[in-house]
C-alpha cells in the first residue's frame, strides 16, 4: 500500500470508530442498546482475541508451524500459562518476550 492509501485506511477506521463512540451519546441518545446486540457484543473480545493470538504464535515467526524448532510455540504456551494464572498483562508480556529471546539465542 502506498502512503496515502494507508492514511486513507487509518482515517476510515478512525471515522467508523468515532461513529461507534458517538452512536448512543448523539444519535440514539436516551435509547437502550437492543438486548440482541448486547448479547452479540459480549462475545466479540472472547472470539476475536484467540483468532488473533493463535495464528500469530503458530505461523507468525521465521519457523512457522507445529514443531519444536518454532520458538514461538513454547514461549507462547508459557506466556498463556502465566496469563491465566496471574491475569497480569505486563507479566505475560515480559515473560513471553524474554523466553522468546532466550530460545532464539539458544537455537
Amino acid at each position: 500500500m502506498s502512503a496515502w492509501q494507508i492514511w486513507a485506511m487509518l482515517a476510515l477506521i478512525g471515522a467508523g470508530t468515532f461513529a461507534l463512540r458517538l452512536s448512543f451519546i448523539h444519535w440514539f441518545s436516551g435509547r437502550e442498546v437492543p438486548a440482541r446486540l448486547r448479547q452479540v457484543l459480549r462475545y466479540v473480545p472472547a472470539a476475536v482475541l484467540p483468532a488473533l493470538v493463535l495464528p500469530a504464535i503458530v505461523y507468525g515467526g521465521d519457523a512457522p508451524g507445529f514443531h519444536l524448532d518454532n520458538p514461538r510455540l513454547l514461549a507462547g504456551a508459557v506466556a498463556a500459562l502465566i496469563a491465566f494464572t496471574t491475569r497480569n498483562l505486563l507479566g505475560t508480556l515480559v515473560a513471553g518476550m524474554v523466553l522468546l529471546w532466550l530460545l532464539q539465542a539458544w537455537a
Binding site: 468515532f18 461507534l20 448479547q39 482475541l49 493463535l54 522468546l100
Partner: protein, 235 residues
C-alpha cells in the same frame, strides 16, 4: 461553562483514579508504536493511527494485518468488529453526556476507552446522586489520551532503531493473550474463544487474512449459541 470548585475536584479525582492503570497502558502504547514500524510503516503512520483511531487493540490488529499483507477492506472490517464494544460504552455514557452541547459531546465521545468508561460508570453506580460525571470523565479520559499518545510516539521512533531479530512484533499476540484472560469468564465466552481460535488457526492459509475474520464471526456465533444452549439468562 463556569468551572466550579466541585467540578475541579471531580476532574482531579478522575486523574487520580486513572493513575494506577497508566503503568499498564504505557507499555501497551509503546507496543502499538513499535508494531506500526514493525509492519513497515513510517513512524508518522503509527502516531497518526493513535490520533485517528485511538483504540489500542484495533491499532495492533491493523498493524498485524498490514504486516501480513491483508486486503485493506478486511483491515477496516476487522477493526470495526474489534471496536464494536464502543457502541456499548456509548450507550452506558449517554445518560451523563446527552444534555451537553455537541461541541462537548464530540471530544468526550472521541476519548472513550475501556478504562475511562469503566471508571465513570462504576463511580456513577456507586454515587447515583452526583452530577459531576463529566469533569470526572474528562480528568480520567484526558490523562489516558495524553499518556497513550506519548507512549505510541516513543514506540514509533524507538521501534525504527530496533533490529528485527528482536522479534518485538511478538509482543502483540502476548498483549492480546493477557487481554483474552479477562474476556473469558464463563462457559459461553470459553466456547467463543476455543471456536474463534480454532477456526482462525485452520483458516490461517486463506488469502487476505480471511481466517481471522471467519474465526471472529464463528467464535461470536458459537458463544451466542452456547449461551442459548446453556440457558444462561433465558431459563
Amino acid at each position: 461553562m463556569k468551572v466550579e470548585a466541585s467540578s475541579r475536584a471531580a476532574f482531579w479525582e478522575g486523574v487520580r483514579m486513572i493513575a494506577p492503570m497508566l503503568p499498564g497502558i504505557f507499555p501497551f502504547g509503546l507496543t502499538a508504536g513499535v508494531a506500526a514500524v514493525d509492519a513497515g510503516l513510517a513512524p508518522a503512520h503509527g502516531i497518526g493511527a493513535s490520533i485517528l483511531i485511538y483504540a489500542g487493540a484495533s491499532q495492533l490488529v491493523v498493524m498485524q494485518l498490514i504486516g501480513d499483507g491483508a486486503l485493506p477492506m478486511i483491515m477496516v472490517l476487522t477493526a470495526y468488529v474489534v471496536n464494536l464494544r464502543f457502541a456499548m460504552y456509548s450507550a452506558g455514557l449517554a445518560p451523563h453526556f446527552s444534555h451537553l452541547p455537541r461541541r462537548w459531546q464530540w471530544p468526550l465521545a472521541y476519548m472513550i476507552t475501556d478504562q475511562a468508561y469503566t471508571l465513570t460508570v462504576l463511580r456513577a453506580e456507586q454515587h447515583p446522586s452526583r452530577t459531576d460525571a463529566v469533569p470526572f470523565y474528562l480528568g480520567a479520559a484526558g490523562v489516558m489520551w495524553l499518556v497513550w499518545q506519548i507512549a505510541t510516539a516513543i514506540g514509533a521512533f524507538v521501534g525504527a532503531l530496533v533490529p528485527s531479530s528482536w522479534s518485538l512484533g511478538f509482543a502483540v499476540p502476548l498483549i492480546f493473550m493477557g487481554m483474552l484472560v479477562l474476556a473469558v469468564n464463563d462457559k459461553p465466552t470459553m466456547v467463543a474463544a476455543v471456536v474463534g481460535g480454532a477456526v482462525a488457526l485452520l483458516g490461517h492459509a486463506l488469502p487476505m487474512n480471511l481466517g481471522l475474520f471467519l474465526g471472529a464471526v464463528a467464535g461470536i456465533a458459537a458463544g451466542v449459541l452456547a449461551e442459548w444452549r446453556l440457558g444462561r439468562g433465558k431459563a
